[in-house]
């Protein structure tokens, strides 16, 4: 395996994709839509009647969290379109076998395709960033928090790219792999909280003494169901805001709120103040799990691209 091969495949993927033409328009629409909506959101935050968001800094914090999470969700919805048909689509078009008979190895082809789709995903993320960067300019969000959050979002996009590519290596038809990829994204985003909510009652145990007995849920048994959720990983990984002055209570911060609540569920007895420490952090587990899944998917797609093939999945024609 060599970088030469990976770069060659990635460049080829991007070049053939960009030439289809509509991408430029789609990216321009995306840029306008996301940033425009984010600004509208900000304006409505500050001028809405009955809003208790008085000062600009707090509005900026809310904007940062809410826009970033929306961008993550939206990008993850787009990502399967980037990579869910890269392998079986090439097979259907008959361009894969001519690649496999060259000196390119299966791993080079798999990684090259991943680099191309991940890179495209990062471009999509980058186009959404101007509105997220606004709170940083205003001074409401530190540069550190911005960088961490963007890096984690980029990683999560890469993870979904790898999973989608894994599906496209595994199943013969591109429509099936596309569907499975969307189900995977849906499972990560929506399935994990549903599983958590459904599992929570099963953890309930009698609590209290004999006279005053009641049942108490134990989220600390099932918190890990939430961990792989990309939103949870992002929110929990975001560094805490600097403590506001004494008069204010908790700052109204969407990322911080989610982070605090998942940490609560992991360790309800945790008595530290709000300061986040790695001791009760959830995101390392979630990110590690997601990365392990993604690595497995990359390994699988590299293996599936290796020639000569010993076994063929049903319905796959080599060339």
């Amino acid at each position: 395996m060599s970088t030469h091969g990976i770069v060659l495949v990635a460049r080829q993927e991007i070049r053939t994709r960009l030439r289809t033409g509509r991408w430029q328009i789609l990216l321009a629409v995306w840029f306008g839509l996301v940033n425009g909506l984010a600004l509208l959101f900000r304006i409505s935050l500050e001028s809405g009647s009955g809003s208790n968001v008085g000062w600009g800094s707090e509005a900026a914090v809310i904007m940062f969290g809410a826009v970033l999470m929306s961008v993550l969700v939206l990008t993850l919805m787009i990502t399967p379109a980037l990579s869910a048909t890269t392998i079986n689509g090439d097979r259907e078009r008959g361009t894969l076998a001519t690649l496999q008979v060259t000196r390119l190895t299966g791993a080079e082809i798999a990684l090259g395709k991943l680099v191309a789709s991940w890179g495209t995903g990062l471009v999509i993320l980058g186009l959404a960033l101007p509105s997220v960067f606004l709170p940083v300019i205003e001074g409401a969000i530190t540069m550190g928090r911005f960088v961490v959050v963007v890096v984690v979002t980029g990683l999560l996009i890469g993870i979904v790219c790898a999973l989608s590519q894994g599906w496209s290596a595994l199943v013969a038809r591109s429509i099936t792999s596309m569907l499975l990829s969307y189900l995977t994204v849906f499972g990560l985003l929506v399935g994990t909280p549903i599983a958590f909510v459904l599992a929570l009652p099963l953890t309930s145990q009698p609590a209290g003494d004999d006279h005053l007995s009641y049942r108490k849920d134990h989220p600390e048994y099932v918190w890990w169901l939430l961990a792989p959720n990309p939103l949870v990983v992002l929110a929990d990984a975001a560094p805490t805001l600097p403590e506001p002055d004494e008069r204010a209570d908790e700052p109204d911060d969407p990322l911080g709120d989610i982070g605090r609540s998942v940490r609560d569920s992991r360790d309800p007895e945790f008595t530290g103040d709000d300061e986040k420490t790695l001791a009760n952090a959830v995101w390392p587990y979630g990110l590690a799990f997601d990365l392990a899944l993604a690595s497995g998917a990359v390994w699988l797609s590299a293996r599936r691209l290796r020639a000569p093939a010993h076994t063929l999945p049903k319905g796959i024609r080599v060339a």
Partner: protein
């Protein structure tokens, strides 16, 4: 060549070492030659099945350098499976395959550097230009940078696409794409060339050019293996013919021997008669033992007959005073051999 009339017809259970078979390029079971040996492709008792369906059942194949070998057999005989195995895309379940001296089971990468492959259907990157397309594959084969552009220009001239260098691939016609695929297969100067139905979609001129190209590659020492159904064309291209059926080699012949033995050398052929006689068909129908008689404009077709039977018929017709203008076998030596092979199935 000893017995031109002996078509090797092994029973379909074991690969044949038949005593009276047409001699092969090397004796079967002579042992495995050293790497870099004299043959471009050597396949021994190759077995491959898809699920419960056997595709290859112990097939043998030798493709010498400097010759064009034709792979001929009915649909489903295992030709494409064999070519996929030779192209290092598919692993055989049993048997040994060497391409350019490299064992495909252990050294597929080395074999790939020496191997050009042109599949029957293949996709092209529509968005690229012809030059970019070939450049990509030159890079994928790691051609040195200075050699790359010279090679691409040379190949495009060879397949008559040199004026299309900057045109997008999607603007090419089917035949032009086929020729582009040919250039792609040759980009890294392979010593072994595999072609699956290369002439499909080509116009008559391109076919002639393809024939000349393959001949000149063979003259340069390349081992060429062509699978095709167009037998008349193979007869002009190929030095050797390998007949396969039901996943087995049923015969290996030198084309010169086939042609020397004549169209009936491998059995019986149909004969076409042209005569200045409106009642020719009726006249023929009155004779026994002429097989199926079909009336044609200005003549008739009879057979299958051996050469002796045909000579008798001609003599008889002339004796009867029929003004025979033309009397000759239909089809070719290769066609007859093919028909004789596939006769068994029916």
């Amino acid at each position: 060549m000893g017995e031109p009339n002996a078509v090797p017809r092994p029973e379909f259970e074991a690969p044949p070492p038949e005593p009276n078979a047409v001699p092969r390029q090397e004796p079967v079971g002579a042992g495995w030659p050293a790497p870099g040996a004299e043959h471009g492709i050597e396949a021994r008792t190759v077995v491959r099945s898809f699920g419960a369906v056997p595709a290859l059942r112990g097939l043998d194949l030798t493709v010498p350098y400097g010759q064009v070998t034709a792979l001929v057999g009915p649909n489903g005989a295992g030709k494409t499976t064999l070519l996929l195995i030779l192209a290092t895309l598919l692993a055989p379940h049993a048997g040994q395959v060497r391409v350019a001296g490299f064992d495909l089971a252990t050294h597929p990468e080395q074999a790939r550097s020496a191997l050009g492959w042109m599949p029957d259907t293949f996709g092209v990157y529509d968005q690229l230009t012809v030059g970019e397309y070939l450049e990509f594959f030159a890079d994928a084969y790691r051609l040195p940078h200075d050699e790359k552009h010279r090679r691409i220009r040379g190949l495009l001239a060879l397949v008559h696409l040199d004026d299309r260098l900057r045109q997008p691939v999607h603007g090419l016609s089917r035949g032009q794409k086929q020729r582009l695929g040919m250039a792609r297969a040759l980009i890294h100067k392979p010593r072994v060339l595999l072609l699956d139905e290369p002439a499909s979609g080509l116009d008559p001129r391109s076919r002639v050019e393809l024939r000349d190209l393959l001949r000149s590659l063979a003259a340069d020492g390349v081992a060429v293996l062509v699978s095709s159904h167009i037998l008349s064309e193979l007869e002009e291209i190929a030095d050797r013919v390998v007949l396969v059926d039901h996943g087995l080699t049923v015969g290996e012949h030198r084309m010169a021997d086939l042609i020397a033995s004549g169209p009936t050398g491998m059995g019986r052929a149909r004969w076409r008669i042209r005569a200045q006689d409106d009642a020719l068909a009726a006249r023929l129908a009155a004779r026994p033992g002429l097989g199926t008689i079909s009336d044609l404009p200005g003549g008739a077709e009879v057979g299958p007959l051996t050469e002796d039977e045909a000579a008798d018929l001609l003599a008889a017709l002339v004796a009867e005073g029929v003004r025979v203008v033309a009397f000759g076998p239909v089809g070719s030596a290769l066609e007859s051999a093919y028909m004789a092979m596939t006769d068994e199935r029916r």
